[in-house]
Protein backbone atom coordinates (compact mmCIF):
# COMPACT_ATOMS: atom_id res chain seq x y z
CA UNK A 1 0.00 0.00 0.00
CA UNK A 2 2.75 2.47 0.98
CA UNK A 3 4.83 1.63 -2.07
CA UNK A 4 1.79 2.24 -4.31
CA UNK A 5 1.12 5.49 -2.48
CA UNK A 6 4.67 6.68 -3.12
CA UNK A 7 4.38 5.72 -6.79
CA UNK A 8 1.15 7.65 -7.28
CA UNK A 9 2.34 10.66 -5.28
CA UNK A 10 5.60 10.69 -7.25
CA UNK A 11 3.69 10.57 -10.53
CA UNK A 12 1.39 13.45 -9.53
CA UNK A 13 4.22 15.60 -8.25
CA UNK A 14 6.27 14.90 -11.38
CA UNK A 15 3.31 16.03 -13.51
CA UNK A 16 3.08 19.18 -11.41
CA UNK A 17 6.80 19.85 -11.71
CA UNK A 18 6.65 19.57 -15.48
CA UNK A 19 3.33 21.30 -16.12
CA UNK A 20 3.95 24.00 -13.47
CA UNK A 21 0.23 24.54 -12.95
CA UNK A 22 0.64 24.87 -9.19
CA UNK A 23 3.55 27.27 -9.38
CA UNK A 24 2.32 29.29 -12.35
CA UNK A 25 -1.42 29.41 -11.66
CA UNK A 26 -2.43 28.35 -8.16
CA UNK A 27 0.37 30.17 -6.31
CA UNK A 28 -0.26 33.53 -8.03
CA UNK A 29 -3.96 33.00 -7.41
CA UNK A 30 -3.24 32.59 -3.68
CA UNK A 31 -1.30 35.86 -3.62
CA UNK A 32 -4.07 37.62 -5.53
CA UNK A 33 -6.59 36.45 -2.95
CA UNK A 34 -4.44 37.92 -0.17
CA UNK A 35 -4.25 41.24 -2.02
CA UNK A 36 -8.02 41.21 -2.64
CA UNK A 37 -8.67 40.76 1.08
CA UNK A 38 -6.60 43.86 1.70
CA UNK A 39 -8.75 45.79 -0.80
CA UNK A 40 -11.95 44.49 0.76
CA UNK A 41 -10.97 45.20 4.35
CA UNK A 42 -9.31 48.58 3.89
CA UNK A 43 -5.53 48.18 4.13
CA UNK A 44 -5.52 49.55 7.62
CA UNK A 45 -2.95 47.23 9.13
CA UNK A 46 -4.87 46.87 12.37
CA UNK A 47 -7.83 45.11 10.76
CA UNK A 48 -5.69 42.97 8.49
CA UNK A 49 -3.36 41.88 11.28
CA UNK A 50 -6.24 40.95 13.54
CA UNK A 51 -7.95 38.99 10.76
CA UNK A 52 -4.73 37.53 9.33
CA UNK A 53 -5.27 34.01 10.70
CA UNK A 54 -8.75 33.74 9.21
CA UNK A 55 -7.76 35.23 5.86
CA UNK A 56 -4.78 32.88 5.65
CA UNK A 57 -6.98 29.84 6.15
CA UNK A 58 -9.71 31.00 3.77
CA UNK A 59 -7.00 31.36 1.11
CA UNK A 60 -5.67 27.89 1.93
CA UNK A 61 -9.20 26.50 1.52
CA UNK A 62 -9.57 28.09 -1.93
CA UNK A 63 -6.17 26.74 -2.95
CA UNK A 64 -7.17 23.29 -1.70
CA UNK A 65 -10.22 23.31 -3.98
CA UNK A 66 -8.01 24.20 -6.95
CA UNK A 67 -5.35 21.64 -6.05
CA UNK A 68 -7.94 18.86 -5.74
CA UNK A 69 -9.57 19.83 -9.02
CA UNK A 70 -6.18 19.79 -10.70
CA UNK A 71 -5.32 16.45 -9.14
CA UNK A 72 -8.33 14.82 -10.81
CA UNK A 73 -8.39 16.72 -14.07
CA UNK A 74 -4.97 15.13 -14.62
CA UNK A 75 -6.69 11.75 -14.43
CA UNK A 76 -9.59 12.80 -16.67
CA UNK A 77 -7.51 13.11 -19.85
CA UNK A 78 -6.56 10.21 -22.11
CA UNK A 79 -8.41 7.66 -20.01
CA UNK A 80 -5.77 7.95 -17.29
CA UNK A 81 -8.42 7.01 -14.77
CA UNK A 82 -9.02 3.67 -16.43
CA UNK A 83 -5.28 3.18 -16.50
CA UNK A 84 -5.17 3.82 -12.77
CA UNK A 85 -8.01 1.37 -12.26
CA UNK A 86 -6.38 -1.34 -14.36
CA UNK A 87 -2.88 -0.79 -12.99
CA UNK A 88 -3.46 -3.23 -10.12
CA UNK A 89 -2.37 -0.66 -7.56
CA UNK A 90 -4.00 -0.92 -4.16
CA UNK A 91 -6.91 1.61 -4.12
CA UNK A 92 -5.94 2.63 -0.57
CA UNK A 93 -2.46 3.31 -1.88
CA UNK A 94 -3.84 5.35 -4.78
CA UNK A 95 -5.87 7.39 -2.29
CA UNK A 96 -2.89 7.99 0.00
CA UNK A 97 -0.72 8.88 -2.97
CA UNK A 98 -3.15 11.38 -4.47
CA UNK A 99 -3.90 12.90 -1.07
CA UNK A 100 -0.18 13.02 -0.31
CA UNK A 101 0.57 14.87 -3.52
CA UNK A 102 -2.23 17.37 -2.81
CA UNK A 103 -0.89 17.79 0.74
CA UNK A 104 2.64 18.41 -0.52
CA UNK A 105 1.39 21.14 -2.85
CA UNK A 106 -0.71 22.64 -0.07
CA UNK A 107 2.34 22.80 2.21
CA UNK A 108 4.23 24.78 -0.43
CA UNK A 109 1.24 27.09 -0.91
CA UNK A 110 0.88 27.55 2.85
CA UNK A 111 4.53 28.57 3.14
CA UNK A 112 3.96 31.10 0.36
CA UNK A 113 0.77 32.38 1.96
CA UNK A 114 2.46 32.66 5.37
CA UNK A 115 5.18 34.77 3.80
CA UNK A 116 2.46 36.83 2.14
CA UNK A 117 0.65 37.35 5.43
CA UNK A 118 3.89 38.52 7.06
CA UNK A 119 4.80 40.86 4.21
CA UNK A 120 1.39 42.22 3.22
CA UNK A 121 -0.51 42.22 6.52
CA UNK A 122 2.38 42.91 8.84
CA UNK A 123 1.68 39.82 10.93
CA UNK A 124 4.30 38.68 13.41
CA UNK A 125 4.45 34.85 13.24
CA UNK A 126 4.73 33.85 16.90
CA UNK A 127 4.26 30.41 18.44
CA UNK A 128 6.01 28.49 15.67
CA UNK A 129 5.33 24.99 17.01
CA UNK A 130 1.58 25.53 17.22
CA UNK A 131 1.53 27.12 13.76
CA UNK A 132 3.40 24.17 12.26
CA UNK A 133 1.30 21.57 14.06
CA UNK A 134 -1.90 23.31 12.92
CA UNK A 135 -0.67 23.41 9.33
CA UNK A 136 0.29 19.74 9.41
CA UNK A 137 -3.02 18.50 10.83
CA UNK A 138 -5.19 20.83 8.74
CA UNK A 139 -3.30 20.00 5.53
CA UNK A 140 -3.72 16.27 6.01
CA UNK A 141 -7.43 16.71 6.75
CA UNK A 142 -8.06 18.99 3.78
CA UNK A 143 -6.11 16.78 1.39
CA UNK A 144 -7.94 13.64 2.55
CA UNK A 145 -11.46 15.11 2.47
CA UNK A 146 -10.65 16.86 -0.80
CA UNK A 147 -9.38 13.68 -2.43
CA UNK A 148 -12.52 11.75 -1.44
CA UNK A 149 -14.74 14.42 -2.94
CA UNK A 150 -12.36 14.88 -5.86
CA UNK A 151 -12.73 11.29 -7.05
CA UNK A 152 -16.45 11.43 -6.27
CA UNK A 153 -16.98 14.31 -8.69
CA UNK A 154 -14.10 13.45 -11.05
CA UNK A 155 -15.98 11.72 -13.84
CA UNK A 156 -18.87 14.16 -13.85
CA UNK A 157 -19.51 16.94 -16.32
CA UNK A 158 -20.42 19.41 -13.55
CA UNK A 159 -17.30 18.74 -11.46
CA UNK A 160 -15.99 22.34 -11.48
CA UNK A 161 -19.12 23.66 -9.80
CA UNK A 162 -19.96 20.60 -7.74
CA UNK A 163 -16.63 20.18 -5.93
CA UNK A 164 -16.64 23.53 -4.08
CA UNK A 165 -20.25 23.02 -3.00
CA UNK A 166 -19.37 19.59 -1.62
CA UNK A 167 -15.96 20.34 -0.15
CA UNK A 168 -16.31 23.79 1.42
CA UNK A 169 -19.08 22.96 3.95
CA UNK A 170 -17.29 19.75 4.93
CA UNK A 171 -14.05 21.70 5.40
CA UNK A 172 -15.77 24.37 7.50
CA UNK A 173 -14.62 22.80 10.81
CA UNK A 174 -11.03 22.84 9.50
CA UNK A 175 -11.29 26.54 8.73
CA UNK A 176 -12.81 27.23 12.13
CA UNK A 177 -10.36 25.14 14.14
CA UNK A 178 -7.23 26.13 12.24
CA UNK A 179 -8.12 29.81 12.49
CA UNK A 180 -8.77 29.59 16.26
CA UNK A 181 -5.51 27.67 16.77
CA UNK A 182 -3.54 30.27 14.80
CA UNK A 183 -5.25 33.12 16.61
CA UNK A 184 -4.33 31.54 19.93
CA UNK A 185 -0.71 31.22 18.79
CA UNK A 186 -0.51 34.71 17.29
CA UNK A 187 -2.33 36.26 20.24
CA UNK A 188 -5.03 37.89 18.10
CA UNK A 189 -7.87 35.70 19.29
CA UNK A 190 -9.61 37.95 21.77
CA UNK A 191 -9.02 35.66 24.74
CA UNK A 192 -9.93 32.27 23.31
CA UNK A 193 -8.65 29.53 25.59
CA UNK A 194 -5.57 27.88 24.10
CA UNK A 195 -4.93 26.06 20.84
CA UNK A 196 -5.10 22.57 22.40
CA UNK A 197 -8.74 21.61 21.76
CA UNK A 198 -8.64 23.04 18.24
CA UNK A 199 -5.52 21.08 17.38
CA UNK A 200 -7.11 17.91 18.72
CA UNK A 201 -10.19 18.55 16.59
CA UNK A 202 -8.00 19.02 13.50
CA UNK A 203 -6.25 15.73 14.22
CA UNK A 204 -9.61 13.98 14.64
CA UNK A 205 -10.81 15.42 11.33
CA UNK A 206 -7.62 14.29 9.58
CA UNK A 207 -7.77 10.78 11.05
CA UNK A 208 -11.47 10.35 10.24
CA UNK A 209 -11.14 11.37 6.61
CA UNK A 210 -7.89 9.51 5.97
CA UNK A 211 -9.50 6.37 7.39
CA UNK A 212 -12.67 6.93 5.37
CA UNK A 213 -10.69 7.45 2.19
CA UNK A 214 -8.58 4.33 2.73
CA UNK A 215 -11.71 2.23 3.22
CA UNK A 216 -14.00 3.79 0.59
CA UNK A 217 -11.62 4.70 -2.21
CA UNK A 218 -11.79 1.30 -3.89
CA UNK A 219 -15.56 1.52 -4.29
CA UNK A 220 -15.28 5.12 -5.48
CA UNK A 221 -12.65 4.39 -8.09
CA UNK A 222 -14.67 1.46 -9.41
CA UNK A 223 -18.17 2.87 -9.36
CA UNK A 224 -18.20 6.61 -9.44
Amino acid sequence: MWRDALLVAGKDLRIERRSRVTTNQVAPFAVVVLVLFAFALDPDRGVLTRAAAGLFWVSVLFCAVLAVQRSFSVEAADGARDGLRLSGLDPAGVFLGKAGAVAAQLVVLEALLAAGVVLLYGTDLKGGVVLFATCAAATVGLAAAGTVYGVLSAGLRVRETLLPLLLLPVAAPVLLSATRAWEAALGTGGGVGGAGPWLRLLVVFAVVYVAFGVVAFGALLEEA
Binding site: A145, V148, Y149, L152, S153, L156, R157, V158, L162, L165, L166, L168, P169, V170, A172, P173, L176, S177, R180, P197, W198, L201, V204, F205, V208, Y209, F212, A216, A219, L220, E223, A224
Partner: protein
Protein backbone atom coordinates in the same frame (compact mmCIF):
# COMPACT_ATOMS: atom_id res chain seq x y z
CA UNK B 1 -62.80 4.04 -11.68
CA UNK B 2 -59.15 3.15 -12.25
CA UNK B 3 -57.36 6.34 -13.18
CA UNK B 4 -53.62 6.65 -13.68
CA UNK B 5 -51.72 4.97 -10.84
CA UNK B 6 -51.18 7.39 -7.92
CA UNK B 7 -48.94 7.37 -4.91
CA UNK B 8 -51.80 7.31 -2.41
CA UNK B 9 -53.04 4.25 -0.56
CA UNK B 10 -55.34 3.60 2.37
CA UNK B 11 -52.34 3.79 4.72
CA UNK B 12 -51.09 7.13 3.40
CA UNK B 13 -54.59 8.59 3.53
CA UNK B 14 -54.85 7.64 7.21
CA UNK B 15 -51.35 9.03 7.72
CA UNK B 16 -52.14 12.29 5.93
CA UNK B 17 -55.40 12.69 7.82
CA UNK B 18 -53.67 12.11 11.18
CA UNK B 19 -51.00 14.63 10.21
CA UNK B 20 -53.66 17.24 9.43
CA UNK B 21 -55.56 16.56 12.66
CA UNK B 22 -52.46 16.73 14.88
CA UNK B 23 -51.24 19.85 13.09
CA UNK B 24 -54.64 21.51 13.59
CA UNK B 25 -54.52 20.42 17.25
CA UNK B 26 -51.05 21.96 17.61
CA UNK B 27 -52.28 25.20 16.08
CA UNK B 28 -55.31 25.38 18.40
CA UNK B 29 -53.31 24.48 21.52
CA UNK B 30 -50.36 26.64 20.51
CA UNK B 31 -52.27 29.77 19.53
CA UNK B 32 -55.27 29.78 21.85
CA UNK B 33 -55.25 27.25 24.69
CA UNK B 34 -51.72 27.82 26.00
CA UNK B 35 -50.99 30.98 28.03
CA UNK B 36 -48.34 33.52 27.00
CA UNK B 37 -44.92 33.15 28.64
CA UNK B 38 -43.78 35.29 31.60
CA UNK B 39 -40.58 36.35 29.84
CA UNK B 40 -41.21 35.91 26.11
CA UNK B 41 -44.91 36.79 26.03
CA UNK B 42 -46.72 35.65 22.89
CA UNK B 43 -43.43 34.83 21.18
CA UNK B 44 -43.13 31.62 23.18
CA UNK B 45 -45.69 30.10 20.80
CA UNK B 46 -42.84 29.44 18.38
CA UNK B 47 -41.79 26.64 20.72
CA UNK B 48 -44.68 24.50 19.50
CA UNK B 49 -43.36 24.39 15.94
CA UNK B 50 -39.68 25.41 15.81
CA UNK B 51 -38.11 22.57 17.87
CA UNK B 52 -40.28 19.88 16.23
CA UNK B 53 -39.34 21.10 12.74
CA UNK B 54 -35.65 21.29 13.66
CA UNK B 55 -35.69 17.84 15.22
CA UNK B 56 -37.39 16.28 12.19
CA UNK B 57 -34.79 17.90 9.94
CA UNK B 58 -32.05 16.20 11.93
CA UNK B 59 -33.94 12.90 11.97
CA UNK B 60 -34.31 13.14 8.19
CA UNK B 61 -30.56 13.49 7.74
CA UNK B 62 -30.00 10.63 10.18
CA UNK B 63 -32.28 8.48 8.00
CA UNK B 64 -30.28 9.50 4.93
CA UNK B 65 -26.99 8.54 6.60
CA UNK B 66 -28.38 5.22 7.78
CA UNK B 67 -29.91 4.38 4.40
CA UNK B 68 -26.63 5.31 2.66
CA UNK B 69 -24.72 2.95 4.96
CA UNK B 70 -27.25 0.19 4.33
CA UNK B 71 -26.88 0.70 0.59
CA UNK B 72 -23.11 0.35 0.78
CA UNK B 73 -23.29 -2.73 3.02
CA UNK B 74 -23.18 -5.63 0.54
CA UNK B 75 -25.70 -7.78 2.39
CA UNK B 76 -28.39 -5.11 2.52
CA UNK B 77 -27.62 -3.40 -0.77
CA UNK B 78 -30.76 -2.55 -2.70
CA UNK B 79 -32.31 0.21 -4.70
CA UNK B 80 -34.81 1.00 -1.95
CA UNK B 81 -32.08 2.27 0.39
CA UNK B 82 -30.79 4.58 -2.29
CA UNK B 83 -34.30 5.92 -2.93
CA UNK B 84 -34.97 6.32 0.80
CA UNK B 85 -31.69 8.19 1.34
CA UNK B 86 -32.53 10.58 -1.47
CA UNK B 87 -36.12 11.36 -0.56
CA UNK B 88 -35.33 11.70 3.14
CA UNK B 89 -32.60 14.23 2.31
CA UNK B 90 -35.04 16.17 0.12
CA UNK B 91 -37.64 16.38 2.87
CA UNK B 92 -34.86 17.08 5.38
CA UNK B 93 -33.66 20.06 3.36
CA UNK B 94 -37.20 21.47 3.45
CA UNK B 95 -37.36 21.02 7.22
CA UNK B 96 -33.87 22.46 7.71
CA UNK B 97 -34.77 25.52 5.66
CA UNK B 98 -38.00 25.93 7.64
CA UNK B 99 -35.95 25.64 10.84
CA UNK B 100 -33.84 28.60 9.79
CA UNK B 101 -36.92 30.59 8.72
CA UNK B 102 -38.92 29.98 11.91
CA UNK B 103 -35.76 30.49 13.97
CA UNK B 104 -35.08 33.84 12.30
CA UNK B 105 -38.66 34.96 12.86
CA UNK B 106 -38.32 33.99 16.52
CA UNK B 107 -34.85 35.43 16.90
CA UNK B 108 -35.63 38.87 15.50
CA UNK B 109 -38.06 39.95 18.30
CA UNK B 110 -36.38 38.02 21.16
CA UNK B 111 -32.67 38.57 20.41
CA UNK B 112 -33.11 41.64 18.23
CA UNK B 113 -31.39 40.08 15.19
CA UNK B 114 -32.47 37.82 12.32
CA UNK B 115 -29.28 35.86 12.49
CA UNK B 116 -26.51 35.40 15.00
CA UNK B 117 -23.36 33.28 14.94
CA UNK B 118 -24.53 31.01 17.67
CA UNK B 119 -23.48 27.36 17.82
CA UNK B 120 -26.84 25.79 17.04
CA UNK B 121 -27.68 28.25 14.27
CA UNK B 122 -24.32 27.79 12.63
CA UNK B 123 -24.56 24.01 12.87
CA UNK B 124 -28.03 24.06 11.29
CA UNK B 125 -26.88 26.30 8.46
CA UNK B 126 -23.85 24.08 7.74
CA UNK B 127 -26.05 21.00 7.90
CA UNK B 128 -28.30 22.56 5.27
CA UNK B 129 -25.29 23.39 3.08
CA UNK B 130 -23.92 19.84 3.42
CA UNK B 131 -27.17 18.30 2.31
CA UNK B 132 -27.76 20.77 -0.49
CA UNK B 133 -24.41 19.52 -1.78
CA UNK B 134 -25.59 15.95 -1.33
CA UNK B 135 -28.75 16.64 -3.35
CA UNK B 136 -26.69 18.34 -6.07
CA UNK B 137 -24.51 15.22 -6.23
CA UNK B 138 -27.60 13.03 -6.48
CA UNK B 139 -28.99 15.06 -9.34
CA UNK B 140 -25.97 14.34 -11.54
CA UNK B 141 -27.14 11.74 -14.06
CA UNK B 142 -25.37 8.44 -14.47
CA UNK B 143 -25.79 4.69 -14.51
CA UNK B 144 -28.14 3.73 -11.65
CA UNK B 145 -25.74 1.68 -9.52
CA UNK B 146 -22.76 3.98 -9.83
CA UNK B 147 -24.94 7.00 -9.14
CA UNK B 148 -26.32 5.31 -6.05
CA UNK B 149 -22.86 4.32 -4.77
CA UNK B 150 -21.52 7.79 -5.41
CA UNK B 151 -24.47 9.37 -3.59
CA UNK B 152 -24.24 6.95 -0.68
CA UNK B 153 -20.54 7.68 -0.15
CA UNK B 154 -21.18 11.41 -0.54
CA UNK B 155 -23.94 11.19 2.04
CA UNK B 156 -21.70 9.34 4.49
CA UNK B 157 -18.83 11.82 4.05
CA UNK B 158 -21.27 14.61 4.90
CA UNK B 159 -22.79 12.64 7.78
CA UNK B 160 -19.47 11.95 9.54
CA UNK B 161 -18.76 15.65 9.31
CA UNK B 162 -21.86 16.51 11.38
CA UNK B 163 -20.43 15.62 14.83
CA UNK B 164 -17.17 17.40 13.97
CA UNK B 165 -19.10 20.51 12.93
CA UNK B 166 -21.17 20.21 16.09
CA UNK B 167 -18.15 20.16 18.42
CA UNK B 168 -16.17 22.82 16.60
CA UNK B 169 -19.08 25.23 16.51
CA UNK B 170 -20.06 24.50 20.12
CA UNK B 171 -16.61 25.45 21.36
CA UNK B 172 -16.80 28.50 19.22
CA UNK B 173 -19.93 30.06 20.68
CA UNK B 174 -23.20 29.41 22.44
CA UNK B 175 -26.13 31.78 22.84
CA UNK B 176 -29.13 29.67 21.88
CA UNK B 177 -31.27 28.57 24.79
CA UNK B 178 -30.59 25.01 25.92
CA UNK B 179 -32.98 22.19 25.22
CA UNK B 180 -36.37 22.72 26.83
CA UNK B 181 -37.52 19.16 26.57
CA UNK B 182 -34.60 16.74 26.45
CA UNK B 183 -33.34 17.05 29.99
CA UNK B 184 -34.11 15.15 33.20
CA UNK B 185 -36.70 17.74 34.35
CA UNK B 186 -38.32 19.42 31.35
CA UNK B 187 -38.70 23.20 31.68
CA UNK B 188 -42.17 23.04 30.26
CA UNK B 189 -45.30 21.56 31.83
CA UNK B 190 -49.04 21.14 31.56
CA UNK B 191 -50.85 22.21 28.44
CA UNK B 192 -47.68 23.80 27.04
CA UNK B 193 -45.85 20.47 27.23
CA UNK B 194 -48.82 18.79 25.59
CA UNK B 195 -48.88 21.34 22.76
CA UNK B 196 -45.15 20.89 22.16
CA UNK B 197 -45.38 17.11 22.17
CA UNK B 198 -48.34 17.26 19.82
CA UNK B 199 -46.20 19.46 17.57
CA UNK B 200 -43.53 16.74 17.52
CA UNK B 201 -46.14 14.11 16.60
CA UNK B 202 -47.61 16.35 13.88
CA UNK B 203 -44.29 17.07 12.19
CA UNK B 204 -43.17 13.45 12.49
CA UNK B 205 -46.37 12.43 10.67
CA UNK B 206 -45.90 15.12 8.03
CA UNK B 207 -42.32 13.95 7.46
CA UNK B 208 -43.42 10.33 7.12
CA UNK B 209 -46.25 11.24 4.77
CA UNK B 210 -43.95 13.30 2.54
CA UNK B 211 -41.27 10.61 2.50
CA UNK B 212 -43.72 7.85 1.59
CA UNK B 213 -45.17 9.84 -1.30
CA UNK B 214 -41.81 11.01 -2.60
CA UNK B 215 -40.48 7.47 -2.32
CA UNK B 216 -43.33 6.13 -4.42
CA UNK B 217 -42.88 8.87 -7.03
CA UNK B 218 -39.15 8.14 -7.29
CA UNK B 219 -39.82 4.42 -7.42
CA UNK B 220 -42.27 4.87 -10.31
CA UNK B 221 -39.90 7.23 -12.12
CA UNK B 222 -36.98 4.83 -11.94
CA UNK B 223 -39.18 1.90 -12.96
CA UNK B 224 -40.42 3.91 -15.91
CA UNK B 225 -36.83 4.59 -16.90
CA UNK B 226 -36.13 0.85 -16.84
CA UNK B 227 -39.29 -0.15 -18.64
CA UNK B 228 -39.73 2.66 -21.15
CA UNK B 229 -36.84 1.36 -23.25
CA UNK B 230 -38.31 -2.13 -23.38
CA UNK B 231 -41.71 -0.65 -24.12
CA UNK B 232 -40.42 1.51 -26.97
CA UNK B 233 -38.55 -1.48 -28.38
CA UNK B 234 -41.70 -3.63 -28.28
CA UNK B 235 -43.72 -0.90 -30.01
CA UNK B 236 -41.16 -0.54 -32.81
CA UNK B 237 -41.16 -4.31 -33.26
CA UNK B 238 -44.95 -4.34 -33.49
CA UNK B 239 -44.81 -1.61 -36.14
CA UNK B 240 -42.23 -3.57 -38.11
CA UNK B 241 -44.39 -6.69 -37.91
CA UNK B 242 -47.37 -4.76 -39.29
CA UNK B 243 -45.24 -3.49 -42.17
CA UNK B 244 -44.03 -6.96 -42.94
CA UNK B 245 -47.64 -8.16 -43.08
CA UNK B 246 -48.60 -5.32 -45.44
CA UNK B 247 -45.67 -5.88 -47.77
CA UNK B 248 -45.94 -9.67 -48.00
CA UNK B 249 -49.65 -10.67 -47.98
Amino acid sequence: MTGPPGTGSAATRVLGFSALVTLAGTVVLGLWTTPPDVVQGELVRFIYIHPPIATMGEVAFGVTALASALYLWPRTQGRRWDLLAGVSAEVGVVFAALTLVTGSLWGRPTWGVWWTWDARLTTSALLLALFLGYLALRRVPGEAHSRATRSAIGGLVAAIDVPIVHYSVNWWRTLHQGSTLFRPKPLIHGVQLEAMLLGFVAFALIYTWLVVHRYRVEDMASRMEDESFELALAERRAEADELVEVVSP
